[in-house]
Subunit: 270 residues, 2 copies
């Protein structure tokens, strides 16, 4: 099953546009968790089990695993998610981008090693940098308008009457999509830009980080970015959900936060 088909199944099964980001930072782990023993996997698994029925997607951020030598935990976590919750879409947040021969290695990492349905990529290297991902049958979610302050430095530059991020959206929608299942990343902190991107990319799925800790407003994101069918979005929250409590009730608190975030991102009519 390709990325788009998987994601359609996830939206239908969950009635949710919420994506929970898995950014395991031991400095923020609940005190009740025994840090010494397999803490990264166990923390993420508890969050996953507590929220899986509320989300269309999980999005592990590979940097948090790589900085801690926890790739093996990420492998187990991804396998656990895919096997236990087949209705949920698994996005590896890795923002890869390299020349074709190297991208082939990253494709093996994302889809072979970790079994993700889609991987986030950086568009700066252009079309041939994503072809290997499609050859492995996975989806590609390109950075378009990111939620951080420095996103303006390049993404808003005027490129022949259009900002660069619109040129990226056009490239993905008109060119890359000919070769495989694509999506885009547009931060919730920029609802006007999200609306502009939606107008360019038709029904392509848009991953929207930036609600919660980064301050984006969920309803504004849904209003600006949902398709006419009320789908098309994966609205991602990480820290506001997974660190909702630093006590023994962290999984329960994550569930409560996910319930609220799901409701806040329900499109009209759902």
């Amino acid at each position: 099953m390709g990325f788009h088909e998987q994601l359609s199944r996830s939206w239908a099964a969950s009635n949710s546009l919420l994506c929970v980001g898995l950014d395991p930072d031991p400095a923020r782990f609940p005190k009740a968790l025994d840090i010494g023993h397999d803490a990264v996997f166990r923390f993420c698994k508890e969050i996953v089990d507590a929220t899986a029925d509320l989300v269309c997607a999980f999005k592990p951020q590979i940097a948090y695993f790589a900085s801690q030598r926890e790739e093996a935990s990420l492998e187990r976590l991804c396998q656990y998610i895919v096997e236990t919750y087949p209705d949920v879409t698994l996005i590896l947040d890795a923002k890869r981008g390299d020349i074709g021969s190297t991208a082939e290695q990253y494709a093996r990492e994302a889809f072979g090693r970790y079994g993700a349905h889609a991987v986030t990529v950086n568009p700066y290297l252009g079309g041939d940098s994503v072809v290997p991902f499609f050859a492995h049958g996975g989806g590609v979610i390109a950075l378009c308008r990111t939620s951080n302050p420095g996103g303006n430095d390049l993404q808003s530059l005027d490129c022949g009457g259009k900002p660069l991020y619109i040129r990226v959206a056009e490239m993905v929608a008109n060119d890359w999509s000919q070769h495989g299942d694509c999506g885009l990343v547009v931060g919730a902190t920029y609802p006007d830009e999200l609306r502009a991107v939606r107008q360019v990319v038709g029904d392509l799925p848009i991953l929207v980080p930036g609600i919660g800790a980064q301050g984006g407003e969920p309803r504004a994101a849904v209003s600006a970015g949902a398709t006419t069918e009320g789908r098309g979005l994966m609205i991602s929250s990480s820290r506001a959900i997974i660190y909702a409590s630093s006590d023994a009730d962290f999984a329960e608190a994550a569930r409560d936060a996910a319930i609220s975030a799901r409701l806040a991102t329900l499109p009209p009519g759902w």
Copy 2:
């Protein structure tokens, strides 16, 4: 010692602008290598030992390790290079790029876990995406004009009278360099663009991939990109050196190829 100081030391010790890229692909390993036992590390170590006196830098490409679950080998390789060849600069080719809190994790990976002197980064997320790297004392080498065919898709877009890659060069030279030791990536396949970037960035080091397998001409790169002192470049070759032979003499053949590549990239007067 910071990235720039380390690299100056490397140029002085080696009288070489050559950087050898370490892209270990078992499908191309010499038949004589016992693939079953620690092959990735042993292959890279033999290449390193055979070429260390001929290079200013080694550049392991992390994707080749990640696709094979070989992060532990990359750790050992990096440690081996830094301890055995302290005059050589170690660049982690990872092309990272993410929001600040995630970039912090990538900085720990590059400089804590792997001990690199500098890491390649993607500029698309702007200034705050690289600040954490400087906080860890490492250097940042930003993609500017890449050597692949798709590099044109975005990098050559006209941004207010200048191509995007020149805007990136200006951002790195004028802004990012205020915060830490920077460099840029410009492919050898575009000597005119390399000359234009050199004019923008003063003496900042430029990593130049694309000679060898990708077809860039070494002397044209030196002529276009070297500083007036005949330095400023790390001219990188991977496949043409490390796979110079697929027989038992692969390390010797790599040395011969590195000797030729070093000579072909010697600036006038060295």
